[in-house]
């Protein structure tokens, strides 16, 4: 865009000209974007077009401005960098493309994270020490229950999801309509946690024994003469009933990844084992599973992270009542219901610290597989 096309003689002036031109274009682009943002921010700008048309035009403008604006900015900045001496341009150019992303991550992730950590040590109740939010957290019975429950979730959900996912992947591998079978297991993954919780809220619903049962499971139980079970209101069934939802959601993910991994195991390997007289089970545990160990770890850690952060299911179904509290729900309550920011940030840090080791395992595992070097 900014290459000086003229040759030799007036090179210097030509360069200056194009540089000046690019600076002017750049200023123009920035001005247009600024103008567009002003229009977008003006609540009355589109009111003349009627409620629906106004909204549509506004959305369209935001799209064009958002995508087109970024695109134009990159081109303009790139063109401007071209005018710098070659040695400097080489160093700067990558940063031009990386910096916006870094800035966004820094502003919306790193900065709030640091602020949260600082606040957890400084936003303390009167007369408390720097650690008082943490000592309070660990001595609060509700938080102790939350921590205990997170451990239960962590012990049950990822393992079960991986086992079921692996079994399904291995079995579906030999089925005629494999993709159809897998689709059924995969579909829950596309449902939001809140949506899944509402669906399962109906599955678990309880009505007075003898009355028509709205809940799918209790309807079956009552049909066969059993006593309906209040799944969400009986300790400790309620916690496990909710873990089932998480497993239902995550099995699809586990299956897809593990299925792909199984397909990547060379057929020669299993063939050779069979020829050597290995049974199907031996083949599975001694050949297949070790071969896809990396994928299993990836799936396990990913599900584990999702489980540690679990919020929606508990929030929607029990609100943390009846000993179903988990750390994330506790954090939300401290923040938005009790307006206790110190307690809430401490909870966030605890959660963060708990996730870090799993992240480390995950990243190491990926490195071993040659990803993310």
């Amino acid at each position: 865009m900014s290459e000086a096309v003229d040759v030799q003689a007036p090179v210097e002036t030509g360069r200056r000209w194009t540089a000046l031109r690019d600076v002017v274009i750049g200023a123009g682009v920035i001005f247009i974007i600024w103008l567009g943002l002003r229009v977008l921010r003006d609540p009355d700008a589109f009111s003349g077009m009627g409620p629906l048309a106004g909204k549509l035009v506004q959305a369209l403008l935001a799209l064009v401005l958002g995508i087109g604006g970024i695109w134009a900015l990159f081109i303009v900045v790139n063109a401007l960098v071209e005018h710098l001496p070659a040695r400097i341009a080489v160093v700067i150019r990558p940063w031009v493309f990386v910096l916006p992303a870094l800035a966004v991550v820094g502003l919306y992730l790193v900065y709030p994270a640091i602020r949260t950590i600082i606040q957890s040590f400084t936003d303390i109740p009167e007369g408390g020490g720097a650690l008082s939010n943490y000592t309070d957290a660990f001595t609060d019975p509700a938080v102790q229950i939350a921590l205990r429950n997170n451990v239960i979730w962590l012990l049950v959900a990822p393992m079960t999801a991986v086992v079921i996912g692996l079994a399904f992947a291995a079995l579906a591998d030999r089925v005629k309509h494999e993709s159809l079978a897998k689709t059924f297991v995969f579909v829950p993954l596309a449902i939001s946690m809140v949506g899944a919780s509402v669906i399962w809220g109906f599955v678990y619903a309880w009505r007075v024994p003898g009355q028509p049962q709205v809940g799918a499971i209790n309807a079956v139980i009552q049909f066969f003469g059993g006593e309906p079970i209040p799944f969400l209101f009986e300790i400790p069934i309620n916690t496990f009933a909710m873990i089932v939802i998480m497993i239902w959601l995550q099995v699809g993910f586990a299956m897809v990844i593990l299925s792909a991994a199984i397909k990547g195991v060379p057929v020669e390997l299993t063939e050779a084992a069979r020829i050597d007289g290995a049974s199907e089970l031996q083949n599975f545990f001694k050949i297949l599973v070790p071969s896809i160990r990396g994928s299993i770890i990836t799936v396990f850690t990913t599900v584990a992270i999702a489980v540690l952060k679990v919020f929606d299911i508990v929030f929607v179904l029990t609100g943390g009542n009846l000993k179903t509290e988990v750390v994330a729900v506790r954090m939300y309550d401290a923040m938005f219901r009790f307006r206790n920011f110190g307690q809430a940030t401490a909870m966030a840090v605890i959660l963060f610290v708990a996730v870090v080791p799993i992240m480390v395992i995950n990243v190491r595992n990926l490195r071993k597989q040659g990803i993310g070097q």
Binding site: D140, A142, F186, V198, V208, L232, N321, K323
Partner: protein, 481 residues
């Protein structure tokens, strides 16, 4: 090709379901607001001149000036949580109209969604409205302490207000000895709904004492008429608040009012013997076998809007009494035309009535438990003062009363101007010896909207066992700061 389209279609369907699910999941629920004080009201206070006072003769200075047209063309912004497009917002707007007409002041009323957060954000951002409605005295105290509110004591005719407002509302609207909030609307919770026809058919009489209520409950069971009580507390993110209302209502009847206020101020432990005694009374109704329909699981597992469904069973009432505030009829005719007797035969006042939640120990008089809305002031301009003064007069209540669903905080409003059920509630409030403001709303949110609620849920799950341990754990959770 076909093989490939299948999963896509299924995923699209799943997304659709998920999207539908999302909309239903997030619902905010509020519990009543709450505090108590003994009333100064004996009924026969000095007669006030406000009712029907013509312009220029109100007991309030700025209002008189406004009525004389001094602030014509000025504008005031007022906000409230009454749901946009809802009947309440419309009614309040109507209530403001006479003021607009008489003074020429442009009053902008904007009902707001996510009201409490929105107000907090505006105040934090230095852009508060001129006047704002608040339901919790604790919230008012918080704003007052932060220096956001205008102190009314300096200029408001507090003497007049004290004479006019019922229920100790001047004290409740004060912080640190100064007045900050002017109460406008109130709700009464101490009522028990029952099927009038069913009672008549079986010769049941609405009880007037606790003993009669217990005797009636036993009678209903003995007659084989199902369970006497409809109780449930499931309420989205606010499970348990119905139980806290019961606790408060009973405590007002078994202990002196001072104990009640010491309790929510934490001057006595949360699990004070008087409170445990109240819990004892409560468990008599909640946990005596066969008293509550469906037992403790029904209590925990049933949404508060469906509590009374068995009362309207086509085969006759399966449960007979439900203690809930006057808004509950709105849930009876769900998905039905509630105002059409042909479609919904349980018309409040005709087919379903209520009685006063009976007293327990006569020496504590006739208390009522309730909540109320006040207005606080963020900007001190004469026209804003005038509007706040107007809201203290009975004239400001009249248009809403006419439309129904309003109980005025101003006790000079004539009882006969109300329609059912507020006529009876107004009379009940007027006769009350104590007005107990919902205590859970006066406690720190960690307790009042936290462990008190969840503790009640635990208590119900344990079917009334381990009362002392549960109340001890609520006491332990009281914030120390």
């Amino acid at each position: 090709m076909n093989k490939r389209k299948w999963p896509i279609a299924l995923i699209a369907l799943a997304l659709l379901i998920a999207a539908c699910g999302d909309t239903g999941a997030e619902t905010t629920t509020t519990a009543g607001g709450g505090e108590e004080t003994t009333t100064t009201a004996g009924g026969g206070e000095e007669p006030t001149t406000t009712a029907g006072a013509p312009a220029g003769e109100t007991p309030y200075t700025e209002l008189n000036a406004a009525m004389a047209g001094d602030y014509e063309g000025a504008s005031v912004e007022i906000v409230a949580q009454w749901a946009p497009d809802g009947a309440e917002a419309e009614s309040f707007d109507l209530a403001l109209q006479p003021f607009r007409d008489a003074t020429g002041i442009d009053v902008a009323f904007e009902p707001t969604v996510e009201y409490e957060t929105a107000l907090q954000v505006r105040v934090d951002g230095g852009n508060p409205p001129d006047l704002a409605q608040i339901a919790q005295p604790g919230k008012m105290a918080q704003y007052a302490e932060a220096g956001a509110l205008i102190n009314l004591s300096d200029w408001f005719n507090v003497e007049q207000l004290t004479a006019d407002l019922c229920c100790g509302f001047v004290d409740l609207g004060s912080f640190d000895g100064s007045l900050y909030g002017v109460f406008y609307k109130t709700d009464v919770k101490s009522i028990v709904w029952y099927p009038i026809q069913g009672f008549a058919d079986n010769g049941y009489v609405p009880p007037t004492t606790w003993e009669e209520m217990i005797a009636l409950s036993d009678q209903i069971i003995a007659d084989g008429n199902g369970n006497p009580w409809c109780i449930s507390i499931e309420s989205e993110a606010a499970d348990g608040w119905v139980a806290t209302d019961w606790m408060e209502d009973i405590l007002l009847r078994t202990a002196p009012p001072e104990i009640y206020s010491q309790w929510y101020n934490h001057e006595i432990p949360f699990n004070h013997p008087e409170v445990l005694e109240a819990a004892e009374y409560m468990s008599q109704i909640w946990f005596t076998p066969d008293y509550a329909y469906g037992g403790n699981t029904y209590i925990n597992a049933t949404f508060i809007g469906n509590t009374q469904d068995p009362m309207f069973d086509p085969a006759g009432p399966q449960c007979w009494m439900q203690k809930q505030a006057a808004w509950i009829p709105g849930f009876w005719g769900e998905n039905k035309d509630f105002t059409d007797p042909a479609e919904w035969p349980n018309q409040p006042g005709e087919d379903v009535g209520f009685f006063y939640f009976p007293t327990i120990e006569p020496e504590f008089g006739q208390p009522v438990l309730g909540a109320a809305d006040m207005f606080v002031m963020f900007a001190d301009r004469p026209e804003v003062r005038a509007l706040l003064e107007y809201l203290a007069t009975p004239e400001a209540a009249a248009p809403w009363i006419e439309r129904g669903g309003f109980l005025a905080a101003n006790k000079t409003v004539p009882t006969d101007s109300y329609s059912y059920p507020n006529d009876e509630l107004a009379a009940m409030t007027a006769e009350a010896t104590t007005f107990g403001f919902d205590a859970s709303d006066l406690m720190p949110a960690d307790v009042g909207a936290g462990t008190f609620w969840s503790g009640m849920v635990d208590w119900v799950a344990a079917n009334g066992e381990g009362t002392e341990a549960i109340f001890q754990s609520i006491e332990d959770s009281w914030p120390t700061g």
